[in-house]
Amino acid sequence: MHPQPFRLNRLLLFAAVLLLFAASLSACAENRPPTLEERAQSVDKRLICPYCPAETIDQAQVPQAREMRAFVREKLAEGWTEQQILDYFSAPERYGPRVLAEPPKSGFTLTIWLLPPATFLLAGILLFFILRSMKKPPPPQSPPPTPSNEDDMADYLNRVDAEITSRTGSPPPPSPHPQTRHSGESRNPSSQPRYTPCDSERSQESPSLSSPLRERIKVRVKTSPPQANSRHNQTRHSRTPSRHSRTPSRHSRESGNPLPPTNHPNHPKDPPPAQAKING
């Protein structure tokens, strides 16, 4: 399957050549000058009928519009340019600039043409920065957990319980000892996915892990060579055990805290350790 991307590159090159070819073709194409009627129609479409609301003289059916159309053809036959006719009608002593369907790209009305691209440029720059800031991983100093996060917590625990129940068909066991539960699971990673969120797409990799967690994982990987070879598959599954069973000092430091830093507000979906239920 490797050659495929290169094939696409070649294809793009081919496309560029074709485009050039097409461009030269169209440049050489016979440039039939527009007929008088075609020119007249293009003028019609650029003049607003002064007597009817918001219709060009091309669209309007009133006699005055018909007269203006006849005038346009007459003057074009006499050799006037299209711009001369537009200028004639939009002169201040006649109808003024309001008969022009297209505001002139000069003077004050230049603003109508300039504002959209300017705004767009601005919005594009803004979007670029928004995208960049959205991509940035959350700051390592996560704010202290607030009580408002407890809802997420309880919600998550409910889900876990529901999952267990739906698998075993019985209510969850009444709070097994955390150490036994976790050590058992760290030996058997295949039983772990119940602690990942139910979003299947979310569990492919773990780039969304907050950086403090990553640090911790790195530390753990260094200290446990047997699992280092399959880090990507393991990090997510084994992080809960890693925190509690392998770094007891950290565990004791956080034990009074219902929400470890994993539950950064930007990651309410990240699974808090199941142990928190027992602690809380």
């Binding site: 991307p5 696409l8 294809l11 129609q41 979007l127 991509k135 797409e201």
Partner: protein, 686 residues
């Protein structure tokens, strides 16, 4: 009838006020019975308004010209069926229609919302009632359709002749319905903000109502184009008229909304953005109503013009600023679940798509208000017509179609470079092949070339997705047709969305064909004379005139042949209404998938047998009208209720109490988050 109509309006007003206050107080004081009574009041408001509307209909049917509105918009000669148009032909009647539709929709929104919404529903109800109170107070005071005259005239003035068209049975009501329906997702969003339930609960319901509003508005716009095409007699279907734009802008906002809300539904992102977006869309719909009523800019749609401009302007300003103020008060609560991972992902494509859609909406808004800007700042009036919109928005639409081709092929979160290139291979080849073939057959317009190549990109991308999915299922032992149907059933929002995308492509083909390759001729024909245009030979045969009590109808018959082969006979019509001094034309159209031959009488000179005709040959317009049914089909697929919940919901840990007011059928009609948890009870259990 007049008394009944007015009394029911006042009744509805007081009930709406009661519902508004009761739901807020009931929620704040935690009085469930009061909240329930507020909901019942909402249902009664709808009932009262239905009675009021029907009393207006009854007044029309009984020719009760004592009522001023009936006198102004109907007469004895009007075909009875057009009563259904006449009720919204003027300012007062259309307001009553809007209020009635809105009342019914509000009742439906409240009745069908799943019980999960109970904490925020009273607030949403209050918001809906607040909007309705505005309409009803205008109806009761400034625009009462039941005002009576001092005497009873023998006959009425009659309906505006431009409105006597089959399209009028659907186009105005659908547009009005679509415009007010934007308020429903908006009300759920504001309810979420007020009740601080700002996470993802409001999204499901807002999505369903958003899509319904989007489809209604879109169908209304398309029917409006059809009406313009067949009756306004200028061979076109869209003129960027201020009122058309007023309907288009909220539609664009809704399009952006129903795309970006998918990101929140699937990925829990863009929470802030979605709330801001629905606020903005609501603001645009209020702007639409203001343009419709106040008419600060000239438009061909001056049917419902009134002196209510300042009322609607105030409503628009308050209705736009207040939700944004609330949004900023609640700003701290709204956080996305996940950061964006890659610029090459579907989320990012949705974000750019939103930027472009809002860009089109902004350009349109700017064009609509520019005459006022110019008048204030430079002192002279200018007109902003089609050329401006076509030039500026044309580029943005091309960008949108490109995204429509690439976006669906991008995976969520991040695209792996190689896989993405492989997915893009065939669509890109198709686009290039189209480009080359079109260039070789002599199409030179760069915009037409770009648009058609991009259409190929989108179409092949969609077909490829369908084929791949079908193949995978087929390999598991399903026959092709069944595999295809099951594929669509497996992810209705997605595959329904693809069908809608195809509808947009079909629409685009019609627009490109007719705007770049149309021909137009003005001719003056004697009876028996023949004119040749684009290979068609048109012979003007004769005309006949029918004198009706209130109008004079003239029919002109033309025989059409091609290369000596007779094709058809076209009958174009021109009706003169002396009462209004208006001539309405009805084009004679021969429509084929390749091109339309379109003949409209343009000039009728007294005492001269020759008649002026304007003849158009518009390629591919037929496809535009086909886009409507396809779009409705796609929307239906996307919204079709899911029978079996996508995830098990029968978790024993969901508190049994939550089910007391739940309606399981309705609940399942709002598809749950696919990847979400088995149960998400709102209240935390112990």
């Amino acid at each position: 009838m007049a008394e009944l109509g007015l009394i029911t309006i006042l009744l509805a007003l007081s009930l709406a006020l009661y519902s508004l206050l009761a739901s807020v107080i009931g929620q704040l004081r935690n009085l469930p019975t009061l909240v329930q009574s507020a909901r019942n009041a909402t249902y009664l408001v709808a009932l009262a308004l239905i009675i009021s509307s029907f009393s207006l209909v009854a007044a029309f049917l009984s020719n009760d010209f004592h009522i001023r509105y009936v006198f102004e918009h109907s007469n004895l000669a009007m075909p009875r069926i057009y009563t259904w148009v006449a009720i919204y032909a003027g300012n007062e009647g259309s307001l009553l229609f809007i209020a009635t539709v809105f009342g019914i929709l509000a009742a439906a929104a409240v009745a069908f919302s799943p019980s999960r919404f109970r904490p925020s529903l009273p607030y949403s109800n209050a918001v809906l009632m607040l909007i309705l109170v505005f309409f009803l107070s205008v109806l009761a005071t400034l625009a009462n359709p039941f005002i009576t005259l001092d005497f009873t005239p023998a006959d009425g003035r009659g309906i505006n002749p431009l409105l006597v068209h089959p399209g009028m049975f659907a186009h105005p009501p659908m547009l009005m319905t679509g415009l007010v329906m934007v308020s429903i997702p908006f009300a759920f969003a504001v309810g979420a903000l007020l009740s601080k339930q700002v996470a993802d609960q409001w999204v499901d319901v807002a999505r369903v109502w958003g899509i319904i509003a989007w489809a209604t508005l879109g169908t209304g716009l398309l029917l409006g184009s059809w009406w313009a095409y067949t009756i306004l007699g200028w061979g076109g279907y869209w003129a960027w008229d201020p009122v058309e734009n007023a309907g288009l802008m909220p539609w664009l906002g809704l399009t952006a909304f129903i795309h970006s809300i998918m990101v929140q539904k699937r990925q829990g992102m863009f929470r802030m953005w979605n709330l801001a977006l629905i606020n903005l869309t609501f603001g645009l719909s209020l702007f639409g109503m203001f343009i419709n009523r106040g008419g600060p800019v000239p438009s061909v749609h001056s049917f419902a013009a009134s002196s209510l401009g300042w009322v609607f302007l105030t409503f628009m300003i308050v209705g736009t600023i207040a939700p944004f103020a609330l949004f900023f008060i609640r700003y701290n609560l709204i956080k996305s679940a996940r950061p964006l991972e890659s610029s090459l992902s579907r989320e990012a494509a949705f974000l750019v798509n939103n930027l472009l859609l809002l860009g089109v909406a902004f350009v349109t808004l700017w064009g609509v208000v520019y005459p006022l800007v110019s008048e204030v700042f430079s002192g002279f009036t200018v007109t902003v017509g089609e050329p401006f919109y076509n030039q500026v928005n044309g580029h943005l639409f091309l960008g949108l179609i490109f995204l429509m081709g690439v976006g669906p092929l991008l995976p969520w979160r991040r695209a792996a470079g190689g896989a993405f290139k492989r997915t893009l291979l065939y669509p890109a080849i198709a686009a290039l092949a189209t480009l080359v073939i079109l260039t070789l057959i002599g199409i030179r317009n760069p915009y037409a070339l770009a648009a058609l190549s991009l259409f190929a990109l989108v179409t092949v991308g969609i077909l490829q997705e369908w084929m791949r999915g079908t193949m995978v299922r087929h390999r598991r032992g399903e026959a092709y047709p069944i595999a295809f149907l099951k594929l669509i059933a497996s992810n209705r929002p997605r595959y329904g969305g693809y069908v809608v995308h195809l509808a947009v492509i079909v629409l685009g083909v019609g627009i490109v064909g007719s705007s770049f390759y149309g021909t137009q001729r003005d001719v003056l024909l004697q009876p028996g004379e023949t004119v040749t245009i684009e290979g068609y030979d048109l012979t003007y045969r004769d005309s006949r005139t029918v004198q009706q009590p209130d109008r004079r109808e003239s029919f002109y018959t033309l025989d059409v042949s091609r290369n000596g082969q007779p094709l058809t006979t076209l009958e174009a019509e021109r009706t003169f209404y002396p009462e209004f001094n208006i001539s309405a034309t009805r084009a004679g159209i021969r429509s084929t998938p390749i091109e339309d031959l379109y003949v409209v009488p343009s000039e009728d000179r007294e005492g001269d047998p020759s008649i002026g005709f304007r003849i158009f040959v518009n390629p591919l317009v037929w496809w535009m009208w086909l886009a409507g049914p396809i779009m409705i089909l796609g929307t239906t697929i996307a919204l079709w209720p899911t029978r079996t919940p996508l995830v098990p919901t029968n978790s024993p840990l969901v508190p049994a109490k939550a089910g007391t007011h739940s309606r399981p059928n309705h609940q399942s009609s709002f598809p749950r988050r696919r990847e979400s948890s088995p149960s998400r009870p709102k209240q935390s259990s112990p």
